[in-house]
């Protein structure tokens, strides 16, 4: 079945149809689609048959909390790379020049903000478990900014009236999961990153995937940690997703925000990513390798966590805004 487009007709044929639910007849599917499309809050999404959550941040934080490394109650033992991942904020997207921008609809969005320190990362995590293996889809509208700076020396290019110097002060943002199949079952992260700039501030504007497992507290205690990028064993453990070059809409200043549609599907039955769509770009991810841990983890039965983070490469705060999130499954 071909998916119906709603973003300027740009919704491409999907690698996996969200409407292909076994046992669901065409009339039921059509009725469901009509209801979704008549609901202004949901018609901008394409959820799989069962919606686990629809987080409109006008209603609160909806379970998106700060990530912290494992500990025994003594916060002095937190791993440095995961000690200070900052509490998420409910933001009405206010800027010094125009006041309140507002979110996609309503007033508030989820906001992540780094410290103004190179490679500092702000992370929000939502923690669920799963009832059955299968497709999981994460959709959101997002936008991203580097904080306005007033000292021209911190801009990485001159202002020419069009391109903002602050665009090159934005490092990267990452969307990922944390899946564990059960006692002694496989554990892995599907981790996708939009790398806006390289560490030197040159534009990259590509979607990447992680090629090594995230260092866990258990591994860190065995001396395997590093402090620049908590997602991977070494900071260079990323590869470009083929076809993943995509300049996004930064919109010329540090204070104009434009929202982007994001849809990511992964498959807990196959331990793989399935598909990524960001506005006009749809990437088939089924052959992208997903690194898994070679040792078991306990107490994580049917873990289904979602992570959103933003990482600055410069001594400038980076922000990531989300409004809203829909997580859906095919079970």
């Amino acid at each position: 079945m071909q998916r119906r487009g709603f973003l300027h007709g740009a919704m491409a044929a999907s690698a996996v149809s969200p409407y292909a639910q076994p046992g669901q007849d065409a009339a039921t599917d059509g009725f469901r689609r009509a209801i979704l499309q008549a609901d202004p809050r949901l018609s901008k999404f394409n959820p799989l048959p069962r919606i686990l959550c629809h987080d409109d941040f006008d209603d609160g934080i909806s379970g998106w909390c700060e990530l912290v490394s494992n500990h025994d109650g003594n916060l002095d033992t937190l791993r440095p790379v995961m000690k200070d991942l900052r509490p998420p904020q409910l933001s009405n997207c206010t800027f010094f020049d125009i006041g309140t921008h507002g979110s996609v609809d309503g007033a508030y969005a989820l906001k992540l903000a780094t410290r103004p320190r190179p490679f500092h990362t702000a992370v929000a995590i939502k923690r669920l478990t799963y009832a059955k293996p299968g497709l999981v889809q994460f959709e959101m509208y997002f936008t991203f900014k580097a904080e306005q700076v007033f000292d021209g020396s911190r801009g990485r290019r001159a202002f020419d009236g069009n391109l903002s110097p602050s665009e090159l002060n934005f490092g990267d943002f990452t969307i990922g999961n944390d899946i564990c199949e059960g006692e002694n079952g496989a554990r892995y992260h599907c981790t996708l990153r939009y790398q806006n700039t390289d560490a030197g501030g040159a534009p990259v504007q590509k979607w990447m995937y992680a090629t090594s497992v995230e260092t866990t507290t258990k591994m860190d205690r065995q001396g395997q940690g590093q402090s620049q990028d908590f997602h991977v064993r070494s900071p260079g453990d990323w590869k470009e997703i083929p076809g993943g070059h995509q300049p996004l809409c930064f919109n010329e200043t540090a204070t104009k925000i434009n929202w982007h549609y994001f849809r990511w599907v992964f498959d807990t039955a196959r331990r793989r990513n399935t598909e990524l769509q960001v506005n006009e770009l749809t990437l088939d991810l089924r052959d992208i390798p997903v690194p898994a841990y070679d040792h078991p983890y306990r107490a994580l039965n049917h873990l289904l966590n979602f992570l959103i983070d933003v990482r600055t490469h410069a001594p400038v705060r980076n922000f990531f805004f989300v409004d809203s999130v829909v997580i859906s499954v095919d079970w």
Binding site: L78, L90, N92, A113
Partner: protein, 109 residues
Amino acid sequence: MIRRSFTAVIEKNATFTADFSTEPYEAGWASEARWFLRVIEIAGTLRVTPQISPDGLFWCAEGSPPLVITQPGVYSAPLRHFGQWLRLAGEVRGENASVKTMVYLALKE
């Protein structure tokens, strides 16, 4: 509707040996806020002053009296009518002064 509330951990066992400001935190949705400091260790004096901002960039004192802390313990300061952004400005005073603290911001609709 139950009133919404949210607690942010602004600093986790952070040690300050010089003056500092906490990271900006947006609280425009909240009508009341309360700072909590759980001071774990202290040598010298810590003086913390709530600050507010319309844009998260430029700051002024909120107007509440500062908390002056010389002993470990839990300290608190309430705020109302604060606008949009909140942070704490901390002054660390004394010879070899140092303070290790948790900082919480409790917000309520």
